[in-house]
């Protein structure tokens, strides 16, 4: 090997390891979007009238909106009439136990490494698995119920806890917020709802695995987490999707609400199909995630490991309204081949003595593009606000790109806002050093990349940190030689 970089290129050849399709008979809506489709979705879910009205309002608003084009990403225009907005795996009757689950569905979960067997399940993890649009299994419900914690699908919550849904749904991300949040409000099919009552510390990681399954099905998940005074919850969202030729749209909305002294930790490991080496196929991931630290001394922490999707557009944000509240954003975004990611965060300081911390680690390989876009805003009355941002980029090869777009808006002169950014490359000398110790190049890249991302990985719950490390390694398999 005389030309290090050509080996770098050579090794960018690994395939998506979770690409497969399972044959679940689907019950789905016809293609396209109109008011009848929205009525169909709402009807399928037995929703109350107010919910249907809410959806229709969002839909009518959406019709007047335009697709955003400010992000540093390129993709063909999406035909919103060419998408199926509702698809549910067919299940004839309610299940009494996990044994009754369609064996095909079970195998799908197994391939993804999700065990629904409570005994086998990593202790302390409750799983609310979402395949396509319907939540098919919920575990640990009773145990949580004893503490007054509600953890169920959003569809169930609409039926059973309408007062909470009416109060909080759309309160952090209004349907009018952006194009995709309006679309989501109109057509969302499922997602999770989580409510932690006053003074309760949720004793386990709550976890949802989302998965796109039926062909041409857009996924419009809606997640809502409310943490009452002095409560705590840690939530993990993880996903992988089957290999596809056609681009699939995903436009989720996640809303978090933390009251006085409450803390919400939201972690994501995202591994959707990124498209093949030529950039064909892959998921379009346009997500709106926002949390509000509504109460004093509240805290919201976002941790994300983004390895998948063809196009990612995602800015988990915190509105720091309560005095002394804290917002955190820890992110690892990996792009390979033709992937594009434009991701970052917004920290909106409204209350006094609010703090925020941003640690973003972008890793680019192949001919991919990885952008960090972050806003730190300090309002006029937000005295003594503090922010620290650290944005590091690691390049593998010289055909990929890393971009940083920090925006800072400070309207109060007691604010302290710090921003640091670095860009580095994996060096041939680092690889050789590892090789000389008997470590092959692929493993060496994994070690170096995981080292680079360590500060963020450390934020993940233990059980998932290992999984996430593997994911980084798989995504970058063969990226450097």
């Amino acid at each position: 090997m005389n030309d290090g970089l050509s080996t770098i290129e050579q090794q960018i050849t690994s395939d998506y390891k979770y690409g497969f399709t399972s044959n679940l008979e689907a019950d789905q809506a016809p293609k396209g979007l109109n008011e009848d489709i929205i009525r169909f979705i709402s009807g399928r879910k037995n929703e109350p009238e107010w919910m249907l009205e809410w959806r229709l309002k969002a839909y009518r608003y959406w019709l007047k909106m335009e697709v955003p084009d400010w992000a540093n990403i390129k993709y063909p225009a999406i035909d919103f009439q060419d998408i199926i907005y509702y698809s549910a795996p067919k299940q004839s009757k309610k299940l009494n136990s996990l044994d009754e689950i369609d064996p095909e569905l079970r195998r799908t979960f197994e391939k993804l490494g999700i065990s629904l067997d409570e005994q086998k399940r990593l202790s302390g993890v409750a799983v609310d698995a979402v395949i396509d649009s319907v939540s098919v299994a919920t575990t640990f419900r009773e145990q949580l119920g004893e503490l007054g914690i509600i953890f169920c699908s959003i569809s169930e919550a609409i039926q059973e806890h309408p007062e909470l849904i009416k109060k909080y749904l759309g309160s952090v991300v209004p349907m009018t917020d952006n194009f995709y949040s309006a679309l989501n409000a109109a057509v969302f099919t499922d997602g999770s709802f989580c409510y932690i009552p006053k003074g309760v510390r949720c004793p386990m990681e709550l976890s949802t695995y989302f998965r796109i399954n039926a062909e041409n099905t857009g996924q419009f998940e809606r997640t809502l987490i409310v943490a009452e005074d002095s409560s705590y919850v840690s939530y993990l969202e993880g996903c992988t999707a089957p290999m596809r030729d056609e681009n699939q749209l995903h436009a989720a909305v996640v809303e978090l609400i933390a009251m006085d002294h409450a803390e919400i930790k939201y972690s994501t490991v995202q591994n959707w199909y990124p498209g093949d080496k030529e950039g064909k196929g892959g998921i379009y991931n346009f997500v709106t995630k926002r949390g509000i630290c509504a109460g004093v001394h509240s805290k919201i922490s976002w941790t994300q490991v983004e390895t998948g999707s063809a196009v990612t557009w995602k800015y988990p944000s915190c509105i720091l309204k309560g005095d002394y509240s804290t917002g955190e954003f820890y992110s690892v975004a990996v792009t390979n081949h033709h992937q594009q990611a434009d991701t970052g965060t917004k920290m909106i300081h409204l209350g006094k003595n609010t703090r925020s911390r941003i640690v973003s680690k972008g890793i680019s390989a192949g001919v991919s593009h990885n952008s960090y876009r972050g806003l730190v805003s300090v309002a006029k009355n937000a005295s003594n606000a503090r922010n620290f941002s650290q944005c590091d980029s690691l390049l593998l090869g010289d055909r990929c790109g890393a971009h940083t777009f920090p925006y800072i808006e400070v309207k109060n002169n007691t604010a302290q806002v710090e921003h640091e950014a670095t860009t580095s490359k994996i060096g041939e000398d680092q690889i050789f050093y590892c090789n000389q110790r008997g470590i092959d190049t692929e493993t060496a890249v994994a070690l170096i990349v995981n080292g680079f991302a360590k500060e963020v990985m450390n934020q993940l719950p233990m059980e998932f940190a290992v999984e996430a490390q593997k994911l980084l390694a798989i995504t970058l398999e063969g990226s450097v030689g």
Binding site: F432, N435, L447
Partner: protein, 251 residues
Amino acid sequence: MLQIKDLQAGIEGKEILKGINLTIQPGEVHAIMGPNGSGKSTLAAVLAGRSDYEVTGGSVEFLGKDLLDLSPEARAGEGLFLAFQYPVEIPGLSTINFMKTAVNEVRKYRGEPTLDAAEFLKLMKEKMNLVNIDKNLLTRSLNEGFSGGEKKRNEVFQMAMLEPRLAILDETDSGLDIDAIRIAAAGVNAVRSKENATLVITHYQRLLDYIIPDFVHVLYNGRIVKSGGKELALELEETGYSFLKNEMNIA
């Protein structure tokens, strides 16, 4: 165990090694000395399989195998270790983690069972004592922010962990204080055996007081121009390399 025959190598068209001949038997310690830029590190790098160097001629046999045919990691698996003159930094990766991976990869290469966490810790403790290295250093990012001496000491620790058949130490003594040299040498001597050999690259006779070589070679301008016993090192210390130029001119 190592036979280097007429080895020629260069980089970007520039010839650096111009025909090296060197044979090392198990149990032997060889020292290579020579002025700056003479090709000592290049020889070490070529033996370890650094790919930027192009081998243009000659052969190297290591334990019966064609060394030049093996990937760098396979050479390590076969038992070749290089303590780098300039060890690289890997942020976020601790020496412990790095060594756990390395030890197990090498074991896999040899078809030996990998060590679990407890077995690894036991081995690590043993070697830490041997080379007298501080645990804190091993939990920090590999070589990041290490002092010059700490980096070298870390190389000696890694050598002890991997128990190589042939260890090449490229100026491992430079940057070490007197006590550290003694400890490093003790580390080298501790892994010394009838089966293992060591190739020490150094500028200073001092190290050779602690690691007593069987042979000393002088590398100059890409060739070994003089070989002798340990007294050659003493001689060089006194006279320097100026004699080389005269000898070479005559030649």
